[in-house]
Subunit: 219 residues, 2 copies
């Protein structure tokens, strides 16, 4: 089996002033931690890192194939897909800003993807989720949380499925949504609440606490 | 204006083996941190701590009125409501296991509660939320995240509204839901992503990192 990994790190950090994937996390860029995890996964054949034009230079030292992203996240993933050898079986799409994913979850998701063709890693929601009217912020209703999951990454697809999904449209912040829209059933795979997305400097602090707790960093 | 606070700490920690509200957080029980925050809030007239029978003894040293809880969270809040002087204007209901709430958010929510009668503090969801079939874990659909919020606490209500809601029913993990079910409009108030609920030992590590970052603990 051949597996290609697309690490989506094309954001330009409009909200934070600097791209979040390159924030320092215990001495290394967030995205370096992410890449490192996938290097440990069996059958991973190619890792493609998609970054914005301004990050191309620093990304070249990370030891993986680098591709320039596009305007939106979907454009970036599309560019990543073009760079993959078409003989691969599965494509893993991973947020560059999720460095706390672990090889065991990835391997479990790969197993499910071989069976189902399309999987997304996520966790059940813990809080009550409410649907709130935009603007006025009045609660419309409370949702039944037993059936609600947060989608995270990795999301893993058969090569033919994800290329077909992106051939049709490329405007999703969530790749599985494009596949669902093709009418293909997507399987949810239990991830971890620690698999957070680093979007603020506070998240870096949380991530360092998690790494310390895993004994990856000294306590 | 008179405000009563009910701190719901009646859980018996079935999942964790010990009640999460009494986990040590930087040298003090989680619930002590929670109480401390409400002591700093203007117009707070009484603080009522609801705990399980087995926690009554240790709760008595915390300097607030202690009430024994019931079987479910709703029963505990109901017991707390009975202990409030009926001349109070607003009732704040707070999870004992959310020690990272801040006085500024509480005061903003109190202001909104004076205007609207019923408010819940929450934050917009960041990840994509998917509705997943129970058992098979197949994704049914992706929800439009622009209108979805996590409900947290505090939740604040006019005294007459919350007593009416609990007179009717008492089986909610979320107090605002009971009020919504009366047909009363509930206003969402922006909280903080740091206002996490401590449910696992890992959450304690995250909470300590947040306290260090706030300079409450030494770095």
């Amino acid at each position: 089996m051949k597996i290609a990994v697309i690490i989506a790190a094309g954001g330009t950090g409009k909200r934070m002033g600097r791209p979040k994937q390159f924030l320092p996390l215990a001495g290394r860029a967030v995205v370096e931690w992410t890449i490192e995890v996938f290097r440990k996964v069996k059958d991973v054949d190619q890792i493609i890192l998609v970054v914005s034009g301004e990050d191309l230079e620093r990304a070249k030292n990370l030891g993986v194939k680098v591709v320039e992203g596009g305007e939106e996240r979907g454009d970036s993933v599309k560019n990543g897909l073009k760079a993959i050898s078409p003989d691969c079986d599965l494509v893993i799409i991973q947020d560059g800003a999720r460095p706390l994913i672990t090889p065991d979850i990835i391997e479990k998701a790969i197993g499910e993807a071989q069976e189902h063709g399309a999987v997304v890693v996520g966790v059940p929601v813990k809080d009550t989720i409410k649907k709130v009217e935009r603007g006025a912020l009045i609660v419309e209703r409370s949702l039944d949380r037993d059936e609600l999951w947060h989608a995270q990454t990795p999301q893993i697809f058969r090569y033919d499925i994800i290329t077909r999904a992106y051939a049709k449209r490329a405007s999703a912040t969530d790749d599985a949504k494009l596949v669902e829209d093709l009418g293909i059933k997507v399987k949810m795979v239990m991830g971890s609440y620690e698999n957070i997305k680093i979007t603020t400097p506070e998240d870096v602090i949380v991530a360092e606490a998690i790494l310390r707790n895993r004994n990856v960093l000294p306590k």
